[in-house]
Symmetry: D2
Subunit: 485 residues, 4 copies
Amino acid sequence: MALTVEKTSSGREYKVKDMSLADFGRLELELAEVEMPGLMSCRTEFGPSQPFKGARITGSLHMTIQTAVLIETLTALGAEVRWCSCNIFSTQDHAAAAIARDSAAVFAWKGETLQEYWWCTERALDWGPGGGPDLIVDDGGDATLLIHEGVKAEEEFEKTGKVPDPTSTDNPEFQIVLSIIKEGLQVDPKKYHKMKDRLVGVSEETTTGVKRLYQMQANGTLLFPAINVNDSVTKSKFDNLYGCRHSLPDGLMRATDVMIAGKVAVVCGYGDVGKGCAAAMKQAGARVIVTEIDPICALQATMEGLQVRTLEDVVSEADIFVTTTGNKDIIMVSDMRKMKNNAIVCNIGHFDNEIDMLGLETYPGVKRITIKPQTDRWVFPETNTGIIILAEGRLMNLGCATGHPSFVMSCSFTNQVIAQLELWKEKSSGKYGKEVYVLPKHLDEKVAALHLEKLGAKLTKLSKDQADYISVPVEGPYKPAHYRY
Amino acid sequence: MALTVEKTSSGREYKVKDMSLADFGRLELELAEVEMPGLMSCRTEFGPSQPFKGARITGSLHMTIQTAVLIETLTALGAEVRWCSCNIFSTQDHAAAAIARDSAAVFAWKGETLQEYWWCTERALDWGPGGGPDLIVDDGGDATLLIHEGVKAEEEFEKTGKVPDPTSTDNPEFQIVLSIIKEGLQVDPKKYHKMKDRLVGVSEETTTGVKRLYQMQANGTLLFPAINVNDSVTKSKFDNLYGCRHSLPDGLMRATDVMIAGKVAVVCGYGDVGKGCAAAMKQAGARVIVTEIDPICALQATMEGLQVRTLEDVVSEADIFVTTTGNKDIIMVSDMRKMKNNAIVCNIGHFDNEIDMLGLETYPGVKRITIKPQTDRWVFPETNTGIIILAEGRLMNLGCATGHPSFVMSCSFTNQVIAQLELWKEKSSGKYGKEVYVLPKHLDEKVAALHLEKLGAKLTKLSKDQADYISVPVEGPYKPAHYRY
Amino acid sequence: MALTVEKTSSGREYKVKDMSLADFGRLELELAEVEMPGLMSCRTEFGPSQPFKGARITGSLHMTIQTAVLIETLTALGAEVRWCSCNIFSTQDHAAAAIARDSAAVFAWKGETLQEYWWCTERALDWGPGGGPDLIVDDGGDATLLIHEGVKAEEEFEKTGKVPDPTSTDNPEFQIVLSIIKEGLQVDPKKYHKMKDRLVGVSEETTTGVKRLYQMQANGTLLFPAINVNDSVTKSKFDNLYGCRHSLPDGLMRATDVMIAGKVAVVCGYGDVGKGCAAAMKQAGARVIVTEIDPICALQATMEGLQVRTLEDVVSEADIFVTTTGNKDIIMVSDMRKMKNNAIVCNIGHFDNEIDMLGLETYPGVKRITIKPQTDRWVFPETNTGIIILAEGRLMNLGCATGHPSFVMSCSFTNQVIAQLELWKEKSSGKYGKEVYVLPKHLDEKVAALHLEKLGAKLTKLSKDQADYISVPVEGPYKPAHYRY
Amino acid sequence: MALTVEKTSSGREYKVKDMSLADFGRLELELAEVEMPGLMSCRTEFGPSQPFKGARITGSLHMTIQTAVLIETLTALGAEVRWCSCNIFSTQDHAAAAIARDSAAVFAWKGETLQEYWWCTERALDWGPGGGPDLIVDDGGDATLLIHEGVKAEEEFEKTGKVPDPTSTDNPEFQIVLSIIKEGLQVDPKKYHKMKDRLVGVSEETTTGVKRLYQMQANGTLLFPAINVNDSVTKSKFDNLYGCRHSLPDGLMRATDVMIAGKVAVVCGYGDVGKGCAAAMKQAGARVIVTEIDPICALQATMEGLQVRTLEDVVSEADIFVTTTGNKDIIMVSDMRKMKNNAIVCNIGHFDNEIDMLGLETYPGVKRITIKPQTDRWVFPETNTGIIILAEGRLMNLGCATGHPSFVMSCSFTNQVIAQLELWKEKSSGKYGKEVYVLPKHLDEKVAALHLEKLGAKLTKLSKDQADYISVPVEGPYKPAHYRY
């Protein structure tokens, strides 16, 4: 990669689209701060004691305005930070510029190639000769993956002298990962071991990343402690649900300006993300059809008046298709061919493999017409009708709009700050082993409490007598661990 | 108690309001069967093998039409059944009559006194000289409580010769319990021990009963295995939520005919029951205010556009008050005095102590005007304005309407059948100790699946490849234990 | 008819089900008064001046608690009143008893035969030798019809000596009407002429009655002035819409206890009544399908996310069918035969001929099983499956529940009082000819204003400057006549 | 004005922002065509006969993608077209470029000054020496106003020799109008008379313009026939209601990215636009408070569970303020000073004078910080807190987003095409005088019908018997003129 790292006048590294956007980014950052009471409370509560003094934090998480407020919360608490995005389309360039100029090393821009993406990830992890970061904030697990694959390759190399072979895989993205590791090996055959050795732990943001972590825990291959932030109630039941309820129509509107009312929308998957999406479409006046594999979630959908069908039953009558499953191969090119002209197909769930982008791209004679960035019409040769794909099958709310709004991200990111604080505080105590942990309920409740005042909400206080009656402490936590909210 | 047990021509015992209602009950039972596919599937799947052959089951659970379908499912699977209601107002007399005539021993009628209530409970547990039931289906835990208190008293009596003293407590209901145990002691000082010894286990229906069970488990006083049916997803996220969304407006309408649109409704508590109630009131056109102690639930309420305030802030501006907390002392007589004329106060959560009925009844000079059964206007002497109390503070959906509809109860009760089958099948295997268990997720998913076809829902099937990708079996279960739905 | 008119101790005539229900009726009447601020304001504003002094008012309108408050408002303003119901199932017997005992001559009970129904109508119109009423409050137009048909028959008789021949029509209800007129002719061949001559005018409550009036106006056969109350905004956009949104689920729940969530509901017609019904079903968690003939209303339905289909397309997949059209032959027996077992079929729109009750009743081999009054299961011989018909095809909200709640009826009935006042005040001025009139907009706005305070609503006041800017008076009316709300 | 008109290679005049956007505009235009079935049907039905052959049409209506499809429908039917926007921020530059290049003379760009705006209007009306247009498509009535003011000034000049004096008014925008007319007078003292003489009529799009027309009709000053398109049901009950329901959140999200859920939104006015806005905010999870002057609309709001308060009661607790009134002086600077920090204030109703922009701009010491175009933060010096004003107080959905989506605009614009066709067809018949007309109901129904198929809706057909029963023709129209939908 012939990319050049730039430096600020103070010597901090960065690579962003356009540093002149920093002022605009700063203005939006200031607006966002008002909407992120949880993060601002962390600055007030913890700022004075500088708990992250001496800590190096690497983040791999959508480089948006909201993330910028997270980063500046981490630095306000004493951390040094390097950051990259976890999605090629999700960076907001003005946010990246403001942070690069003012606060942290940033390697991110909207519209990276996959090669650029992994270059940025590698830059964010590279803290120079002394090894990598002390802590990682991860989203989707790519930073964690790179270290794990790196360590694996180094071990193989040490044993057998073999270097990773990018041609050994069909997956083009994994080819890039192997190339990067291979290059690293040639420079320093202990590079990823040094990282692993220094690393105190990772806090992971999202379902997909958490799933990878639990698999590594199950396989015994997890190299360091991990906190599962996704499954904090104040994350998965807020960000995933209410965030998507907000950002799905936002993305649809910005990308296509299409009227949602009167349309038939198919939401594939009825988990937290799917629930938010279905609610949004229903409220906007669409008729919503859900596809599900899980009978419990399917039954929930019916109780909300939604029809539960298979994709093939409805593929030719719907106008909008949204994948939210966290699985792959949800909408195949054979499905797309049967859709109405200008049906909109998008993904808000997981990787771009929820939609069969490869199948579409390689369909004989297919024509791609880019309406505007992240909005493409793909025309099939047989019918001369087309479908509209958003964000090339990647997260459409981040690709076509600005992702989740500040307030709900404040919930998620306050969990991140608390998780990072916990990992750092316990770095030498042995409290956390090479396993996946969730935050205790009282911290989850605290995150919620920090967000109520902004909304004018006022809590009722339990009397001691009432608390005893239901066997909880007056100050909480109020629910058993298995409570579902 | 001078109550007389009656007998059918076949010699089965019963005590119901009016046996001539049996035909009407049977007609409604037949309608309900069509709406309860889970129970009917159990009959089809398990009926031929008669798994409950030889099992005696005592139930203490609202004696409604839906429960009647449950009872006849148990008997269709080979059980002998005795039944009482778990609430003085919740019996549907035609349901009780149909079951008493055709299927099981029933001791229940709408409008029992507290003394009659406990007499019924004791009758339902009394299977004659050979001890009590093999299995209990409990709702709220009163049958379980009676046995535990009975065993405790018998132990005390054996040690010290002391019999329970009803005057030792202020709680009028507990006085009755102690009296019953005292009478039992005089007849057979090992009566409850025999019950305990025979008992294989209990399956508990609701939050309040489950809470008692976990407390006994924590204290080490639980005497037999218990299955927590309440926390099956297909119970608590359906019955509690969608059941109450249906039955709250139903109860309000039947009791008061009041227009809900335009009114201000205060929902105390935003758990599953509160969520259902708030949704129902909002949808009917009321403005909804929520009170909460738990910041997470409070934040959920705000995300749905509901105002979160304390009761005292809004007590004088609201029209309808609903308690859903599972706690006590939620609406006190001092609150009621500040309410608007004809404000409606009701409870759908738990016992009548959510509302300070004692305070109201003993308020100096207060006047009670019964509009119709379960609908009382209480007039305060100072202002000559009144409030309307439904079902004397007890569950208003069962007291003023007919409780939850068949379909959602089919979910709950299919869990009950499965729990009872499990306890009975494992009665000698030692699988279950004196602890509280929840059903495994694949059974929960099965319950949901049994209810989808009736609604015309069609599930998507995972491919093997997809299942591997997300690391679940093709046939489920599809979610980790901590998943919140 | 061998029915006997009874008399109160004060000599007022009545015929009700059970006079002992009067106390209960009075209690509910007192509750209703609190919910009917418009009517109570009329008592306060007009009571002292006794504007109806000397006026005889006959009402033919559902004899419910709400109507009772209307009647006592009319009497509080000085009128003498005789009343009957306009539907065989819609009387609330306790309301009828309270009014009969305390306030007016009532001829109404729940469950009249058609013959009894018309006998009651005739009684309500019969004020003795001096002719009929001065004013009529009509709902559906039956009282108006009887007079018009009576006058027509008397003219024919005078000209030709012919008396009406009940066998000249197939319509069994019209046969009864002709019989009554025939009997009347034999007693007094000028009976209906005398009524017509005395009559100042009618105020008509509902769509169906209004349609008849406009037809008579168009034909030149209208015999006296009529005020169309139905098309006051505060009537048709409130009672029809929000009233039905409340009372459709109420009727369904009381009649069948069926869970609405998850079901497919077909709403035939998407006028004001249909809009209210569709909203209610959607909010309760049903999937709603609308049938419509009018493309504008159909397009409105689509904008709310509702599917618009023909009945035949969906007849075999839906669970609940509601007719709201004001037309006839909407659901035929040939449709009913294709429905799912226990599909619910009901009418909330107009006469029982929206549903092909005649076709059903005369279907060869069909079996009717009455679950409870107004809830019948009809079983087809070929399939042995059945459908459930509510209220014998008549208005299910009045037949199976208690009709619309007090608050919304207060809007409608305040329009009635104002219309009656207007007709009476102008009885000699010649202001009103033999035409159909609507109330002026400032009175419509007044009705609304009278209902706002009860709901805690607070209006903004226009400044003079603002009023001039939009060319309206500061005090209203605020909208042009064609405004649609 | 030193603006230069440019010319295409074919000699057609234009002035747009950037002609290189034409390709992008064309792509979006093609997408919009699929969403505008009414307009495309007009092309199919009327295109072959070229009914507008020889007609010159001037339009003054937001120059968006949707308007572009309207323009090309007019040209497809044979018209020659000149166009300007009716709002300084509402032009979509790519739409303007595509039309300028391919189809019509366009004078419009996003972000005109007021002077530029009126220059554009004047250009669009100037068809050269032979007088002005034959027909006008107007939105808000500015083109109509210019001609009326021009004619008035020319008459005054002819009588008295006086030319308009821009300094005679305080209103800066009217000063510009007078200047333009003054300049015109100096060139041709009969310029506007010639326009008036040629003009066949105008079709007006919106409430504000219609109000002006009715005032002129009332004053006897209307110079030519006008068709009120706004009050077609398929316009005001769709575009105003469902259009705003879509575009209000769209504008809020694009301008501020703020989370709507949990916020308090004040909607000033509850007409069609306000109803759409309130629905959108409620559905997105905000708590909605309505302000109203009209008691009927206020009562409608309460029936939907919305609180009705005055602005002053809630000004300091709300987060989002939206004006929808069509009146002026709704939110004054004295209100803004009391708002929470970063409260959002915007207008979707009418002119920027709904919000006291003048008061804000001239507030001593106030500081304006432009976050991005059309999103300004105004900071008050006393508190150092600020509010966020969207689109400088002008229509925020057009200023901050892309206006209403194509589908709903297709309803509105199909009415426009039909109105223009009607005026043109009857240009010599004398059918239309100098009055304001609405389209007949069967055309309104036709517009709706043209939009149903796209949504998969299927109408039920009346039988002849049914049609007779309700006294309408089988093929419609189905409702009386006063029907409110």
